[in-house]
């Protein structure tokens, strides 16, 4: 079993990101859990979603305290909180950033904002980064998430043209992820 923590801001699609990963893993015959944490969320406020992926049934319902992977949707979160709290020593961090910076022993980066903007995934001035981030995460979680299955799930979740655009973001995120040395 692997545990993830997805950190972002209200409106960035943090909860949907977790659900897409879980749905993809389940469509492959595995098990998964997407656990959103709801508080007084509003646009721009820090939001967390947690994910478990497993090849065996999952019994736990507690929250995730020591994730194996943390995905940070917005690097500015570091100025208001520690998004890496509890991360395992040998865990991985995936950052959405145009500025590769090592924040953990194993850090990966993808410019999800640019991917979203290039495709035109912008709502009310906000780049919708979740699908590019999910694509990048799929690359780090190959044991549980298959890229083709994920693209199918994305097309099912977003009907029509929007589905094509988001599937493209997934694919570009998957290919655009880089390890920071």
């Amino acid at each position: 079993m692997i545990e993830l923590s997805i950190k972002g801001r209200g409106g960035q699609g943090v909860v949907t990101a977790g659900e897409l990963l879980v749905a993809s893993s389940i469509s492959e015959g595995f098990y998964g859990q997407s656990i959103p944490f709801y508080g007084g969320e509003r646009r721009g406020a820090p939001v967390t979603s947690e994910v478990r992926l497993s090849k065996e049934p999952i019994f736990l319902h507690r929250r995730v305290y020591n994730p194996d992977v943390v995905a940070v949707f917005d690097a500015s979160l570091f100025s208001v909180m520690n998004p890496l709290e509890g991360l395992k020593e040998n865990g991985k961090v995936l950052m959405n950033s145009s500025n590769p910076r090592k924040v953990w022993r194993e850090t990966y980066v993808v410019d999800a904002t640019k991917i979203a903007q290039d495709i035109g995934l912008v709502i009310a001035g906000w780049a919708v980064v979740n699908t590019a981030m999910v694509g990048a995460l799929a690359n780090l979680l190959k044991e549980y998430v298959d890229l083709d299955a994920l693209e199918e799930v994305v097309k099912e979740e977003f009907p029509g043209k929007l589905g094509e655009m988001n599937a493209e973001a997934v694919s570009l995120g998957y290919r655009g992820v880089k390890k920071v040395d």
Partner: protein, 385 residues
């Protein structure tokens, strides 16, 4: 019957319950939003909009009206459903008792949530247990699959002529309502067979009768006694329906309770709801360390499985009940139920009050209390607050 393998879906708890309700084909729904139940009723209205569910959807002005609306509708014959939580359930209370007293078959889901004040949107069981004396069958789910399964069984149990009683399907707010998990859903045709068309119909224009009339003391007492007898009968009906459901789905149903790793257990943990999964993990870990511990899961809260609980307690060196609801000046609500059925036994019964207002409980918290119990270090009542 052959085991019917259905589709595997990824669903959040609210949508899994909505899916089960859609398959049960209710004809009347009353909706009033309250967190964390709202997305369930939204999904049901979406099904109606898409033509996947043919039902009358009544938008009411309060939870009291929601229950009143489906009460009236149910008397005329249709299958009905609503859902609520916390303050909504409290506001609905008067009608909850009317429905129970009238012995109307219907199903309501309760996304359990703490009660104000202070205000909280998060999970505990204080709302659910407060309806224990309303003549409702009350069942509680452990995970999203269980919530789907129990919802389907609830309609069958409720409408069984030996029961004729409303059924409340409780599942932990957010922890299950908003968590996405793997769910195996049955084909519609199998559900059609499992839940036959509803036959209950009290309102009949050819044979008019009064409903809700005053009962003289003598009649009132007789009426309540009949309800008591029906509630006792419900135990065997629930077991029968579960056995049938297990046959169809291939998913183990256990019955009113499940005893996990109990056989040679000296010490027993008792719980109800979503944290039972975390308890399984805690018990397994302690077993690996050679501790003889087991877990008793309460799946049906009303009628309370007195016989099973008493049997499970016998011969244990110690018991700890984890409670998500409290009766002030007395003790944990589930603990009180367990203790009442341990009358005459010498087994000491401890209480851990935890998970109130959504406070997360980890297997290690459970493990800690259980380990303290085995070492004689657990207080009679411990609060994880």
């Amino acid at each position: 019957m052959l085991v019917q393998k259905g589709k595997v879906l990824a669903l959040v708890g609210n949508h899994a319950v909505a899916y089960a309700v859609k398959q049960a084909k209710p004809q009347v729904l009353a909706v009033f939003p309250i967190t964390p139940q709202t997305t369930m009723l939204e999904k049901l209205s979406e099904y109606i909009d898409k033509g996947e569910l043919r039902a009358e959807l009544i938008k009411v002005e309060s939870e009291h009206s929601a229950m009143a609306a489906i009460f009236g509708a149910a008397l005329a014959g249709p299958r009905v459903f609503t859902a609520t939580a916390s303050q909504g359930l409290l506001y609905m209370t008067e009608m909850i008792y009317w429905v129970g007293g009238q012995r109307v078959p219907l199903v309501a889901a309760v996304a359990t949530r703490a009660i104000a004040s202070p205000w909280s949107i998060w999970d505990d069981h204080q709302d659910f247990v407060s309806k224990r004396d309303a003549i409702w069958v009350q069942m509680m789910a452990e995970n999203v699959q269980d919530a789907y399964d129990i919802t389907l069984m609830a309609f069958r149990i409720s409408e069984d002529p030996r029961v004729m009683m409303p059924v409340m399907m409780g599942f932990d707010g957010f922890i299950l309502t908003h968590t996405m998990e793997r769910v195996e859903v049955l084909p519609d045709s199998v559900v059609d067979e499992f839940i036959p068309p509803r036959e209950f119909k009290l309102i009949d224009f050819d044979n008019p009768l009064g409903i809700g009339a005053v009962a003289t003391p003598d009649n009132y007492a007789k009426y309540r006694k009949k309800a008591m007898e029906a509630m006792e009968r419900a135990k065997s009906v629930i077991k029968e329906v579960m056995a049938n459901f297990e046959e169809i789905t291939g998913r183990k149903q256990y019955g009113l309770t499940e005893c996990y790793m109990c056989e040679d257990a000296d010490y027993l943990l008792v719980g109800m709801g979503a944290w039972v999964g975390d308890m399984r993990v805690a018990v397994s870990r302690l077993r690996e360390r050679g501790k003889k511990v087991g877990l008793l899961k309460i799946r049906v809260f009303r009628p309370f499985p007195r016989e099973e609980v008493r049997e499970a307690l016998k011969g244990r060196k110690g018991v700890v009940v984890f409670d998500r609801a409290y009766s002030f000046g007395s003790g944990g609500v589930l603990s009180l139920e367990v203790k009442a059925n341990a009358y005459g036994l010498t087994t000491p019964i401890h209480t851990v009050v935890a998970g109130l207002g959504g406070k997360d409980v980890r297997p290690r918290d459970i493990e800690g209390a259980l380990e303290d119990l085995t070492e004689g270090k657990l207080e009679e009542e411990r609060w994880l607050a």
